[in-house]
Symmetry: C2
């Protein structure tokens, strides 16, 4: 089983409007809702790839109940979310159907109390016993200690479970020092962590800070991976036009899926890039298109640096 | 008891953001939710004025459950909403805290089935028996016949209950022909009904179309009322700066409250204008400030035309 952790789960709501005009009134033509937060997106992709997946983190209030209800309908994802008294946030994406551009509104997350955090830690420790790999994903809700990911990385290492950390800012800085197996920063997160805007020295710097491997997601340029086995760039055969929402989460699912299957780094990167591409090209934001995935897989370029 | 009808109820959600920028990501600093749809706003103001109020219309799905839960906490409003299988819409107001401007997103309403419409009509007829006045407010959700308000006006007249109709477009055109006691169009609705942008001839035209009295709400210019007893203008003593959200609903509550108490037209208009003003000046959009109401009441100018 692969375990995904989403401390700040969300209900992702998408509105489609003909054209977004500030200070005007808009008739929403279409409303879509799905469970969100990076770790739940990763869980959904892993399940679609055929893995057994358990999702933990917090869910609370009316929105939390909706997240759990929708999760129950996602085939292959076991719900191990821990209840909290606060209300799970909504994120709203307003898609302008004329331009395809998205305007995003993120509600604040629920305040997590100390007893809730303790209840989560106990649940996490119990789940690690059955996990083959774990992904720690996204932001921390208010109340969770800023060193939370360092605690979770150490617990996974102690249980002998490889751990991938995908977060940013101070949560990443603290987490990386606890020596996770993989981190997957984007360009901005990597620059913030290392102080360098040049990805190659920055990935090496991030390894020195404690990550065993660093996979930087560089948007259209694909992935740059610095690992104990070598340094690689991996990219789709040609630039892709589409919606990048969720592409990073699909890359995380690809890396973790291939790691859990014991594949080598070039194969892990190929899977991650193909899943990202299939997400960018999917008609629904954040979903991935299995046919595109199969097509792109054969043509991903992985080059040793 | 005063009965308010809201066929297209809503959960009104308000987001506050520092500044709205299209195609950017926004951190929402504050989320507020309350029962919405014009008739529920009218009910809340009537209850605050001390009237016994019953609210009917449709509520369904998760959002409908939230509307009913919040309504149960509104003192003085009895919930007589009829369940529907579709999901009650949300309306989202994004308030830009820098400028105070609001950007509005309205979800589509639930599809009402023929059996649900019949169930509503039976409930409405039963409620009319105990009603001293009725307000029919707002848009029609999909599936409700466009002549719905004409049916509801006729049933109220048959039961001897005075009825105020506050809607627009074809629903107003059909409804007015059934001879309601009062209609309260805004300037745009009145122009659409009559084809005239000049409020004085337009209110007279609207009376000829079937309304016993027409009270046009003209924004900062106040109210223009054409009634069997005379024609009046009513306005606050000086222009008001504030948020006009809900000012029209407060005017409806004022008219209906004074009508139910048997007051004459100048007194009805005074109350409507004072409540509108107290809503524009209230710190929270759509609420009214009782102190401002008492203050403005004494200085509303009602002039015979």
């Amino acid at each position: 089983m692969i375990l995904t952790v989403t401390l700040n789960t969300a209900l992702d709501v998408t509105y489609r409007v003909p054209r977004l005009l500030p200070h005007a009134s808009h008739r929403v033509s279409d409303v879509a809702e799905r469970p969100g937060g990076k770790g739940l997106n990763v869980a959904r992709v892993l399940a679609a790839l055929g893995h057994e997946v358990t999702a933990t983190g917090f869910a609370g209030g009316r929105t939390g109940a909706v997240v759990r209800e929708l999760l129950a309908r996602s085939p292959g994802v076991s719900d191990a979310l821990v209840p909290c008294a606060g209300t799970t946030r909504r994120t709203l994406a307003v898609v302008d159907t004329a331009s395809g551009d998205t305007t995003q509104f993120n509600e604040p997350g629920p305040l997590i109390t100390a007893p809730e955090w303790s209840a989560f830690l106990a649940r996490y420790d119990a789940l690690l016993a059955g996990a083959g790999a774990v992904a720690l994903c996204g932001s921390l809700p208010p109340g969770v200690p800023v060193g939370a990911y360092a605690v979770l990385v150490r617990a996974a290492r102690a249980a002998g479970v490889p751990v991938l950390l995908d977060t940013g800012g101070e949560a990443l800085r603290r987490g990386v020092a606890a020596r996770p197996e993989v981190i997957k920063p984007n360009a901005a997160e990597l620059a913030e962590l290392t102080g360098s805007r040049d990805p190659l020295p920055a990935t090496r710097d991030a390894r020195r800070r404690g990550a065993r491997a660093v996979v930087a997601s560089l948007g259209p340029a694909g992935l740059l991976a610095a690992t104990p086995e070598g340094v690689w760039r991996a990219a789709p055969p040609h630039p892709l036009a589409g919606n990048p929402t969720g592409a990073g989460d699909s890359a995380v699912a690809g890396l973790l899926s291939a790691l859990a299957e014991g594949l080598d780094w070039p194969a892990r990167l190929t899977r991650a890039v193909a899943l990202s591409a299939a997400t960018v090209l999917a008609p629904v934001a954040g979903e991935f298109d299995p046919r595109t995935y199969e097509e792109v897989r054969g043509s991903v370029k992985v080059t040793a640096v």
